[in-house]
Symmetry: C2
Subunit: 334 residues, 2 copies
């Protein structure tokens, strides 16, 4: 055992382990790539369902196939589903666990850094539909999350950075002490931070919105580049640009804004080649947080704290600030 | 207004109303027969989705059609779904509300006596699959239940009796005062009783099992008659027979058992013509409550109280008692 720590938050027990033990009464649902890289993960007992590659796994079609597999294996309410993979795998398996016989026991084994600190925690499950991403889903926290850092060795630089940017975002909106930690302590502390936020607002009605910091700009960049930019990088640029807005609107000090710039300097962020300001600005107005045709963003009041705005945790950003922010972004990352 | 009473139990507000008001921001999902009998129910605004007839409404196919309808109407998290119909309608619409964008506001307008006192309360949603009934579902209580006794005038005698038998079962396992009330006070008191049980055990892990009183025998009778016997009548016979077992096993006094017999006397209960003891006894062994090949039943300790058995709320019934109970049932209702 490397380390075993247990945190009881929002119904889930989160354990740090150095191997995933198989159990004969469980069904393992495993990501395609993970199964290819670690074919002996489930060595004894336990039925295995291997998912198709990538985002294709999170569809209604695969959901139905997995449910039929559970019926064929005569799974009852006593069955435990063990999801092994990244965020898409956890989202899909969590959803199936939440609706099969009104709820099966559920264990998450996240295999990406991003899934360890994000999708594993908070109980949001979802599948994609032809009408959009994550439109069908439930709130259903897993009983257990097993975090096995061994899996980090299987990740590409880009996959690892997706998780790093999520952790930096958590540092900016909630827990600045993450910035001072050595990398090997990050996961535990990030898990703790997200658990605390989710526990205070499990159904995403207030505080939990701070997790959307950087995401208004990120969604705009993604839409304007036809999703050619990786989500992690879009969120990283979005974090810097929304920190800029926070500074320009008088909520964040210039010193703290300069610190934000320095935090992201090592990652040589770049705007996608297809970027055009007009399309980007138009895309901002399509974000879910908006109302009455106003663009809303989560803003910082200092490093480690998002501004509350009386519990709304987001604020309308005037159009001239959006234009100034675009110019700043083009200048820095263009 | 006839009467307006509000009970806050397990997240749902239950109101007694004398009409169902329409709202332009809601989607009404209405049972086929109810829509035929009350075509003007939704007079102004609000989109309407009319379900196919009967149990056919509670399928994966109809679930998908309803979800696509919601996407086409561009429903968001602010949409309220209003389900108007019997238990099947409420179960289906509740399930869809629980998974659409991780949860829509949900109002139930039960139109049968059984749905008013049973499916409306407790938050169980479900659809049927080719593998069996109610195998896919969630726990998702409606925000509001509007009980409009006007609908009772649309029911056949059999439909009304299905509700009456459910109320009598509640009286036997939990609240004997229901037996002394005039019929017009039944609904309110039965709703209160089921709400209390569900609030103490929302996820059906203990006390809530007492609601299965009469159901082991009822499921046996249904299976042995290829579901030719109406569910309500099967539960009524089952209640008497499981009271007989409670008496024979020494948990219920003979006086209380005689009272149970008198309670059901007015309803001229009859076994289905296709009844055969051998098939009936075999069917008992297929019940979900069983383990290790033993038949388990909820048993009474007195009128108004199911026996707790240290929180298990059910007990193995020896085979010779099952045989004696069959003989008693054939003698009385054959």
């Amino acid at each position: 055992m490397i380390q075993t720590r247990v945190i009881q938050k929002y119904c889930s027990t989160i354990e740090f382990v150095d191997e995933v033990l198989s159990s004969p009464t469980s069904i393992y649902v495993i990501d395609y790539e993970v199964h290819r890289l670690c074919p002996d993960l489930v060595s004894e007992g336990g039925d295995i369902f291997v998912l198709p590659k990538g985002e294709a796994s999170k569809t209604e079609e695969v959901q139905k196939k997995l449910i039929d597999f559970l019926f064929e294996k005569k799974c009852t309410k006593d069955t435990t589903l063990i999801a092994v993979g990244g965020g898409s795998t956890l989202d899909l398996v969590g959803f199936v666990a939440s609706i099969y016989m009104r709820g099966l026991s559920l264990t998450y084994v996240p295999t990406t850094l991003l899934a360890m600190v994000d999708a594993s925690i908070g109980g949001k499950t979802a599948i994609n539909t032809p009408f959009g991403k994550n439109l069908i889903g439930t709130f259903y926290p897993p009983k257990k999350v097993l975090i096995c850092p061994m899996f980090l060795n299987t990740l590409s630089t880009e996959e690892k950075q997706n998780g790093v940017f999520e952790i930096l975002k958590l540092a900016l909106v909630y827990d600045s002490s993450l910035l001072d930690l050595a990398e090997d302590k990050w996961i535990y502390r990030a898990v703790l931070a997200k658990s605390q936020i989710v526990e205070k607002d499990p159904l995403d009605l207030g505080l939990r919105r701070i997790l959307n910091f950087g995401h208004t700009v990120a969604h705009g960049l993604e839409a304007a580049s036809s999703f050619q930019i990786p989500h992690g990088r879009a969120v990283a640029i979005g974090s810097v640009v929304e920190a800029f807005m926070s500074f320009k609107m008088g909520f964040l000090s210039e010193r703290d804004f300069q610190t934000v710039l320095k935090i992201f300097d090592p990652y040589s962020l770049k705007l996608p080649k297809s970027y055009h300001r007009k399309i980007f600005l138009e895309s901002l107005f399509l974000d879910k947080k908006n109302s009455n045709g106003q663009v809303r963003c989560v803003l910082l009041e200092k490093i480690g704290k998002a501004a509350s705005f009386d519990g709304a945790y987001c604020k309308e950003v005037p159009f001239f600030i959006l234009e100034e922010a675009s110019a700043f972004m083009e200048n820095r990352y263009g």
